[in-house]
């Protein structure tokens, strides 16, 4: 038995060593770093870093910009996640509809943004959102609406970011929903039809409950991804105007890689980790309550 265990560990060794070196060690190191005032001076000479306990964490709670970044991120998540999940589910239902005659075309069309680099997308969206010549402004004016100054108005910059992020992730999420939809056996729908359920009732009482595991997966992954909002504001607004689109990760990036306050940035990373951890736990708990459907 001992011998067998030893052999097993030997086979596991490559994976374990890789994980130790590239995951465990950096995670521990960054936590230790978050307890120091590691900055650019310390990069030149590690001896310059001082252990300051939870000083960085305490400083974070007094940092007005961190709170703003936290609020912005929660705003983005609070609106963005439900919107992304709902819209991609609707899209998947439409793509799955027998009425849809050009399925592949639509699937490719909606999936394209997901595989396009955010930087390229941002360049195009800057033009779409342009406050004076943007196509969105023209479209809104055509139906008689006033277009806001999307990227120049602090009140509208975050909605613009949400719009772009949801649009970009739509195809990917819809694809997962589509797989979920197609795995629901047609017999269940036939049974529902015999019982006299109309289209909406079938969707509400058959599709939605049977799709719950997929919804949970899409919702959780979107939540985790959205809490780490970075590329969209980085490329579109650089956190502005008036820090209205400054996210936690963008603020962390500034401190870590522009100001080289690596200790402070690490502390931020751990606060974000805690946030994601708690948020995921909560959704897991809800999942336990809901998915009782046999």
């Amino acid at each position: 038995m001992q011998r067998r265990a030893r052999v097993a560990y030997m086979f596991l060794a490559p994976a374990l060593i890789l994980m130790m070196v590239f995951v465990v060690v950096p995670v521990v190191a960054s936590f230790v770093m978050s307890l120091t005032d590691f900055n650019i001076r310390a990069l030149a000479n590690w001896g310059n870093a001082r252990f300051i306990g939870f000083g960085n964490y305490i400083r974070l709670f007094g940092d007005e910009l961190f709170w703003k970044a936290l609020r912005n991120t929660l705003y983005f998540v609070g609106i963005g996640v439900p919107l992304a999940v709902t819209l991609s589910l609707l899209l998947a239902a439409l793509l799955n509809s027998p009425l849809n005659r050009a399925k592949s075309l639509f699937r490719i069309g909606y999936y394209l943004p997901s595989i396009t680099e955010t930087v390229a997308i941002a360049v195009v969206w800057r033009w779409v959102l342009n406050s004076r010549y943007g196509i969105l402004k023209q479209a809104l004016e055509m139906v008689g609406l006033d277009s806001p100054n999307w990227l120049g108005d602090p009140a509208w910059a975050m909605p613009a970011i949400i719009m772009m992020a949801v649009w970009k992730g739509l195809g990917h999420n819809a694809l997962i929903f589509l797989a979920g939809l197609q795995s629901i056996p047609s017999t269940v729908y036939e049974a529902a039809q015999i019982d006299g359920a109309n289209g909406w009732e079938q969707f509400r009482f058959v599709t939605l409950p049977l799709l719950a595991p997929t919804t949970f997966f899409v919702g959780t992954m979107t939540l985790i991804g959205y809490l780490q909002l970075f590329a969209e504001p980085y490329t579109l607004t650089d956190g502005g105007p008036l820090d209205a689109t400054l996210s936690i990760v963008l603020y962390m990036y500034r401190h870590g890689f522009k100001f080289f306050n690596l200790g402070y940035a690490s502390a931020m990373a751990y606060v974000l980790f805690g946030l994601i951890f708690v948020a995921t736990l909560l959704t897991m708990k809800r999942k336990g309550e809901e998915v009782t459907f046999g």
């Binding site: 650019i40 001076r41 990069l43 030149a44 000479n45 800057r126 033009w127 959102l129 342009n130 406050s131 943007g134 100054n149 990227l151 120049g152 108005d153 602090p154 607004t237 650089d238 502005g240 105007p241 008036l242 820090d243 500034r254 890689f257 522009k258 100001f259 080289f260």
Partner: protein, 402 residues
């Protein structure tokens, strides 16, 4: 008589040994060049190698976006180059942590390099806490680009020379959905000249924040009001400045010499209808000076050869040659007497501007101070804070950073 041949033999031997050792193992210099400069510097290193047969130069191209990280990694790992091109605003950050070799003793021995041969603002970027860490390589500065025809139509026969004239011209031009000028709410390079023109500053002699001084507040107030009164667009993101300039919807802006060629290429239809002028004055006509310096890394094992390279590149003649290769403006004043620069009226404006151009305070925490300035300036431009409130907030920010 018998001694002489011996000395000669010795000398010959010595020369022979030196020559053979040079031929056998030339000194290898590694030079880091950033961005587009990396592609073009080869022509200069070839000239240098020709003049210094014992030295071979290897150029490593570093993209600007990765340069900062790369230097940091090199510092931590001791894998830096011998010579590097360095952005002027990074001098203090790296200089203060001992990345660069202090150059005073090389300069005092040098026959060609001296402070006075460069523009004062440019030289200032090389000095950190009284120590010289670099030699100016090339400069850029900002001046006022304006539409001569549109200004003339409003009765302005020449470019605005004062703040009042600038405001009056912008107000006269901002009609029919257009603006008087393009200006940025979050680019300190556009904002700082206004502070300097009014005699303001960010830090005082002792390094304490000086942003609540009336000169700073007044400049911020003037700047912010250009946005409040819709003379400049609050959101310039995604704007095609060339098109706006050509259409006359943003008929004035502050930028650098690179815009001359770009304007000619992008909107040739307005050729002859625009020009460049020295920044308008409050107390002075000071502008922003940036560009790049050359530095020797302290960990370099070939410091003498590295210095020879820096010395070579700082020479006015070679800086002029570099201008021919790259279009980068010489930091050495003498190079500007050459006809290709002196004979170009727009370049002459930049030459005049360089005499009155300044760089921000050379302090290690500049990146953070810069971010704070941009944040508070934007708050004032959006009218979220008055100039005085924004200045007080900025003062608190800088105190927390320093």
């Amino acid at each position: 008589m018998r001694r002489l041949p011996l000395t000669l033999v010795c000398a010959a031997l010595l020369v022979g040994i030196m020559a053979s050792s040079i031929a056998a193992a030339p000194t290898r210099l590694t030079v880091w060049a950033m961005g587009a400069e990396a592609q073009k510097i080869g022509e200069m290193t070839a000239r240098f190698e020709k003049a210094n047969p014992g030295i071979r130069v290897t150029v490593q191209a570093i993209p600007w976006g990765a340069a900062h990280d790369k230097i940091i990694t090199a510092v931590a790992g001791g894998t830096g180059p011998d010579v590097a091109q360095m952005g002027t605003t990074w001098m203090a950050e790296f200089g203060s942590i001992g990345v660069f070799e202090e150059l005073s003793r090389y300069i005092s021995k040098s026959k060609s390099v001296e402070k006075g041969q460069f523009f004062p603002g440019s030289w200032g970027t090389c000095v950190v806490a009284g120590k010289v860490y670099g030699i100016p390589w090339y400069v850029d500065t900002r001046a006022l680009f304006y539409r001569t025809d549109l200004l003339a139509a409003k009765g302005f026969k020449q470019a605005p020379r004062t703040w009042d004239e600038l405001r009056a011209a912008a107000a006269a031009l901002a009609v029919g959905g257009g603006f008087g000028m393009a200006l940025s709410t979050n680019n300190y390079q556009e904002f700082m000249p206004f502070v300097w023109q009014n005699g303001g500053r960010i830090l005082d002699e002792k390094g304490r924040p000086a942003v609540t001084e009336p000169q700073f507040v007044e400049a911020l107030d003037f700047y912010a009001k250009l946005f409040h009164d819709k003379l400049a667009p609050i959101d310039s993101g995604g704007t095609d400045l060339f098109q706006e300039f050509a259409k006359g919807t943003m008929p004035m802006y502050f930028s650098g010499p690179w815009m001359i060629n770009m304007t000619n290429e992008q909107v040739p239809e307005i050729a002859g209808k625009w020009s460049v002028a020295v920044c308008p004055a409050k107390k002075t006509r000071t502008s922003f000076v940036g560009g790049c310096n050359l530095v020797v890394f302290r960990d370099s094992k070939n410091k003498d050869a590295a210095w020879r390279f820096v010395e070579f590149m700082s020479d006015a003649g070679n800086q002029l040659a570099w201008f021919g290769v790259s279009g980068c403006l010489p930091a050495a004043k003498a190079a500007w007497d050459a006809p290709e620069l002196a004979g170009n009226p727009m370049m002459a404006v930049f030459r005049e501007q360089l005499d009155d151009a300044q760089a921000p305070e050379n302090v290690p925490q500049w990146a953070q101070i810069e971010a704070a300035i941009q944040r508070r300036v934007q708050e004032a431009c959006y009218g979220k804070k008055t100039a005085a409130e924004a200045a007080r907030a900025l003062e608190a920010d800088i105190k927390a950073i320093r």
